[in-house]
């Protein structure tokens, strides 16, 4: 074993330290009194800084050196957590480029977001609780990243979901926030069922949940043999498991049918949106697919990869169309996030592991930047989120404006910025794989450029439209500086809020150069997956994406830039052109309404049905018997057509009632009945065990 490998081994055994510091910070903060605000923030940021340093050390160690050019620098550390009977439950930590890169990104972006949050939350009285949750989130996210065991990963996955739930509903007294937190939790839970089934299947067939181990019997190391076994729905076993895992990733990464929770999650504080719903947690699904990539590609004949690609593609385009017609500054970004996650998934499905992960990293930087920027805007405009009531902020908030511009250009895919290179990679990968998907993705890229331009002009361009009253419009628009209402005027935010923007925008500018083929080969590809062949470059893709991006920006300028909005009450210029379609887009293709009409309504109907059945039971046997007798006596008393019909109706009711009663007698609230059923069940189980 070379020195380098030994060094990696040592570092892998210390990977647990990365999530450890935020975890300790969270534990301490949970005990702090509410008044310990400064201490709480300091703890959180310090812990994150420690994690960041450790992650940087791990990252440094995984950089390719000297002789190890063609193999992935991977080290892992497994240990037995506990054993029951002969089965040992192993946990483990891994150190490889995927983990190191992701961990560094999470810790670094998280660090700056925490710094920003100290400003954003400065006026909140539950400051300590907020930072406690943030620390816990950071710990579980980092734990997810360094896990070398699917169970550990799943535990952190759920913890991350829990933190997301807690943070979305941080202002739980707002009904919308309370609804959003529930929606997020339940929607992601739908995906997690798939994930869990996948885990169970994997355990059933490989007997381990450790991803890599020294004996070569880890779950991922057996992916090849799983690819040879038949699974369900015409897939190989590996493909089936991969599909199940992907369902989990769909929930977490807000892919098409399960995307509904992410825009609503914007009810949470903006740093939360930046950290959880843009940079890290939603990327966990993409990361997980990347981590389990061996299963997805185990059998080349499986359609699971196409499924991933198409889901990603649909999400990318679908969300981009919605983002065009939103007015809430954070919602635009939320749908944009959905769309970008779709891009990543699409890249993974097209076989572009590197492209997907690269976009994950660059996107984390510039989307966190955009979200933090929007947070600054919201604070600067005194909690205004509607873009129609902004405008002209360029003058009031210059630093925010320039940083936001960098983020916007990166997201829109303008050449020197980070987003250009990573999106380009994805488009190239898709181009080689499936032309139709490529066309759709290019369309989505066009929309991306368009809606970001729209947002820029609405927020920063034109004049300040805040403080207006929609209908009356009696406050003038053009003379804000003369206005006595200093309170309503936007202002630049404090240094602890804009400093993270500056730092992140530096990355948003330069980070893309790591993954370009034009600069000493594709460095990132070489780092992450040296064993995979680098994709061929296709000039048409690059040219077209530049053209499309430019076209989107141009169109945006034409519609929104040339003649800025004057009044907040003015209709969106696009609405006139698109007509009814705009409304449809604004209402998000009515997906929520569709869910409301189908799933929610059906569940409620089922609940009502059960309640009705219960009602019948409350009446109890006595009432039922009395009713029957009453019916019978009626029958004997008046023998006539009308009464016979009545009686028949009653009898019909009674039979329904009787059926319901029979079922519901089981739940009579008496402990002893339950105990009785339990004992009988136990007897039956044991009897089956003995006499089968």
């Amino acid at each position: 074993m070379s020195d380098h490998a030994q060094h990696l081994q040592q570092l892998a055994a210390q990977q647990w330290l990365i999530p450890f510091f935020p975890l300790v910070a969270a534990a301490i903060q949970s005990l702090l009194p509410r008044s310990a605000r400064r201490l709480s923030a300091t703890l959180t940021i310090l812990a994150m800084g420690m994690s960041c340093l450790l992650a940087a050390r791990a990252f440094w160690a995984t950089l390719p050196v000297g002789e190890q050019h063609d193999e992935v620098a991977r080290a892992f550390f497994n240990f037995t957590w506990f054993r029951f009977g002969t089965t040992a439950l192993e946990f483990g930590f891994i150190l490889d480029p995927l983990t190191a890169g992701m961990a560094l990104m999470v810790a670094f972006v998280g660090f700056w977001i925490f710094v920003n949050a100290t400003g954003y939350m400065a006026e909140d009285e539950n400051f300590t609780r907020f930072f406690c949750f943030l620390s816990l989130f950071a710990a579980s996210m980092l734990g997810l990243v360094v896990a070398n065991n699917l169970l550990l990963l799943f535990m952190c996955w759920e913890l991350v979901g829990l933190c997301s739930y807690l943070l979305i509903g941080f202002w739980y007294f707002k009904p919308s926030a309370a609804a959003a937190m529930k929606k997020a939790f339940i929607t992601t839970r739908v995906g997690d069922i798939g994930f869990f089934i996948g885990i169970l299947m994997l355990y059933q067939h490989t007997g381990t949940l450790t991803l890599y181990n020294a004996e070569g019997t880890g779950a991922l190391q057996q992916a090849g043999s799983l690819g040879q076994l038949a699974g369900w729905w015409g897939l190989s076993l590996a493909g089936t498991i991969a599909l199940m895992l992907f369902i989990g990733a769909m929930g977490k990464s807000a892919q098409f049918p399960l995307h509904v929770w992410l825009p609503d999650a914007m009810e949470g504080p903006t740093p939360v949106s930046a950290l959880i719903h843009a940079a890290t947690m939603v990327a966990a699904g993409v990361f997980m697919v990347g981590r389990m990539f061996a299963l997805f590609t185990a059998n080349a004949g499986d359609w699971v990869m196409d499924f991933v690609m198409w889901i990603g593609c649909i999400t990318a385009l679908f969300s981009a169309t919605i983002a065009v017609a939103q007015f809430d500054i954070k919602r635009v970004l939320a749908y944009s996030t959905c769309s970008q996650l779709g891009f990543m998934m699409m890249a993974l499905g097209a076989g572009g592991l590197v492209a997907g992960q690269f976009h994950l990293l660059t996107h984390a930087f510039f989307k966190a930047l955009l979200f933090l920027g929007s947070g600054c805007v919201i604070i600067g405009t005194h909690h205004e989120q509607d873009m129609r009531r902004m405008g002209g902020l360029r003058k009031y908030m210059p630093i925010t404006f320039w940083c936001y511009l960098v983020g916007m250009l990166a997201l829109a895919g303008v050449p020197p910025f980070a987003g250009f290179f990573s999106k380009d990679e994805i488009l190239v990968a898709t181009y080689h794989h499936n032309k139709l998907a490529w066309v759709l993705a290019t369309a989505a890229a066009f929309l991306t450029a368009f809606y970001m331009t729209r947002q820029m002009f609405m927020v920063f361009g034109g004049t300040w439209r805040g403080g207006q009253h929609d209908a009356h419009g009696n406050e003038t628009t053009g003379h804000d500086e003369h206005h006595g209402h200093a309170h309503h005027e936007p202002h630049e935010v404090s240094w602890n809020m804009w400093l993270p923007l500056v730092v992140l925008s530096v990355f948003a500018v330069f980070m893309g150069w790591l993954g370009t083929p034009w600069l000493a080969g594709n460095l990132f590809h070489h780092y992450l997956a040296p064993e995979m062949p680098a994709p061929e470059h296709a000039n048409i893709v690059v040219v077209l994406s530049v053209v499309v991006g430019a076209a989107g920006i141009l169109l945006g300028w034409l519609i929104y830039g040339r003649r800025p909005m004057q009044h907040a009450a003015e209709p969106d210029p696009l609405a006139g052109t698109l007509g009814g379609l705009f409304t449809v887009l604004n209402r998000k293709w009515y997906v929520d309404e569709l869910y409301e009409a189908t799933i929610v309504r059906a569940t409620q109907a089922l609940g009502t049905l059960f309640r009705a059945v219960d009602k019948l039971v409350v009446d109890g046997i006595l009432h039922a018997i009395a009713w029957i007798w009453w019916g019978v006596s009626q029958l004997f008393r008046w023998i006539g057509d009308e009464l016979i019909i009545n009686g028949g109706f009653d009898a019909g009711c009674e039979s329904v009632r009787g059926g319901g009663r029979l079922l519901a007698r089981l739940q009579n609230g008496r402990v002893q009945t339950y105990l009785r059923v339990m004992a009988l069940g136990a007897v039956v189980l044991v009897a089956i065990y003995f006499f089968r």
Binding site: D614, V617, V618, A664, Q667, N668, G669, R670, V671, Q672, L675, R676, A679
Partner: protein, 103 residues
């Protein structure tokens, strides 16, 4: 006839069944709790019998029994507190009348 582990297991099985019968048929919550204590004791007796006959070189069965006794004690304290609270509320300790959780 030598004494075997089976004697103890069988006896505690019968004790368990007696306790179960009590828990199923008695109407007074305190009686039910007493029946549960009987079941608990039957279980703990199994641990000690297993130690005596099979695992006498190991401390684990006894430690397990220590923990089981502790849990049983905590359970009975809580259970009786609940009974008293329920009695204050309903003026009754009849388990058949405690049907607030009825469906």
């Amino acid at each position: 006839m030598t004494l075997t582990l089976g004697h103890y297991l069988g006896m505690s099985a019968i004790l368990f069944a007696i306790g179960l019968a009590g828990a199923l048929t008695r109407r007074n919550a305190i009686n039910v709790l007493m029946s549960i204590e009987i079941m608990f004791n039957a279980g703990i007796l199994n641990l000690i019998a297993a130690w005596h006959f099979r695992y006498f070189e190991s401390l684990t069965p006894q430690l397990f029994a220590v923990f089981a006794v502790t849990i049983a004690a905590a359970e009975s304290a809580l259970g009786l507190a609940l009974v008293i609270a329920v009695y204050r509320h309903y003026r009754s300790v009849n388990v058949e009348e405690m049907t607030a959780l009825r469906g």
